[in-house]
Symmetry: C2
């Protein structure tokens, strides 16, 4: 398969494929002559994965590269790969809240994690984001929305459980790792859109005239 065919198969423009090759997201094709390379099925799949992460999930290209490198390095422990996927989903956005809001948020989140018996590293990127977010809700006068934080956590824990069950069903470690990455990242898009649809549906009849 040559680059033009790869482009047609995946609906990605040739210059974009060249860009991904340059950036090292896509392995080079096998050179049969100085200006002729052939690409295979792995390239098609890899390219589809890249597009899904970039286009659907909005992951930065540089991060996709990191994730793919980690996927290819099958020596890396699985939790390292998960950590990488997690970092891909939590850009280093920090928000300085008022001290009270931040303290209250930290306390609430710490309590939540303790009560649920979760094992979470203090350095987990999502932890900081969660605290910031809870603090933001407070700072914006939306205490009532996060009063049910535990109920949120309950539902979230529910689907996370069978998510992990489904992923664990993979026979090989490589497949498992790939499932983890896809599940973690695309799963967020999935849940987000389900939530919006649920919101639209539930709110429709309740507020028809407000």
């Amino acid at each position: 398969m040559r680059i033009g065919e790869l482009s047609k198969a995946t609906d990605v423009p040739v210059p974009t494929i060249k860009y991904y090759l340059r950036e090292g997201l896509l392995p080079a094709g096998e050179l049969s002559s100085p200006n002729q390379a052939s690409y295979g099925d792995t390239h098609v799949r890899r390219l589809r994965l890249i597009r899904a992460l970039v286009e659907l999930a909005g992951v930065p290209v540089a991060t996709v590269k990191e994730i793919l490198e980690s996927l290819d390095a099958d020596t890396e422990p699985l939790h390292e790969q998960i950590g990488r996927a997690h970092r891909a989903l939590t850009p280093t956005r920090r928000l300085s809240a008022t001290e009270e809001a931040r303290d209250a948020a930290t306390a609430q989140v710490t309590k939540l994690i303790h009560d649920r018996g979760w094992t979470v590293e203090p350095s987990a990127p999502a932890l900081a984001t969660l605290i910031d977010t809870v603090a933001a809700f407070r700072a914006l006068g939306q205490e009532n929305l996060i009063a049910h934080l535990d109920a949120y956590a309950d539902s979230v824990e529910r689907f996370t459980r069978f998510e992990i069950d489904a992923v664990t069903a993979n026979p090989t470690r490589d497949q498992l790792a790939e499932s983890v990455v896809i599940g973690t990242i695309l799963g967020e898009t999935l849940i987000a859109s389900l939530r919006l649809l649920a919101q639209e549906s539930i709110s429709a009849d309740r507020w028809k005239n407000r």
Copy 2:
């Protein structure tokens, strides 16, 4: 309050505040003389809201502007404002999938919505994203992950319900509208980080040695 004090109160640099003023995200202060304006508490709150949306939720500045305009136009029906917040969360990313994957995804999503009795407009932006995402899962060989789509929807519907209950508790329409926007947008960040923490915790003991 002058711009310098506003900056200190919110921890946003003066040039950034000026930028938001230019872009129309923040209403101009009251001019007491050609080069002296005073800002009040509304500015502090508005600025905090802007930062939360931009920094935490990653909403583009142009979209924040739209949302705020919609919030200020209290003549606009509530479901219009919800739609706007939804559009803020679903950037127009489209992914061309294979036809089979796309058809299968459409069928699965249509069935889901029907089975759950959801009322969803066919033009809902989240609907397209959901179909694309499900199709991407298929195209990437992760059918097993979306086999439980209904279970996902179940959990999602659960927290969406009390989310809407919490928001409905607001006395005035203005407060309701603001809660809807904040809840919809920051809620996504909240759920996403909760999910990552749950994943980390649940997966830790399961895959310690893989």
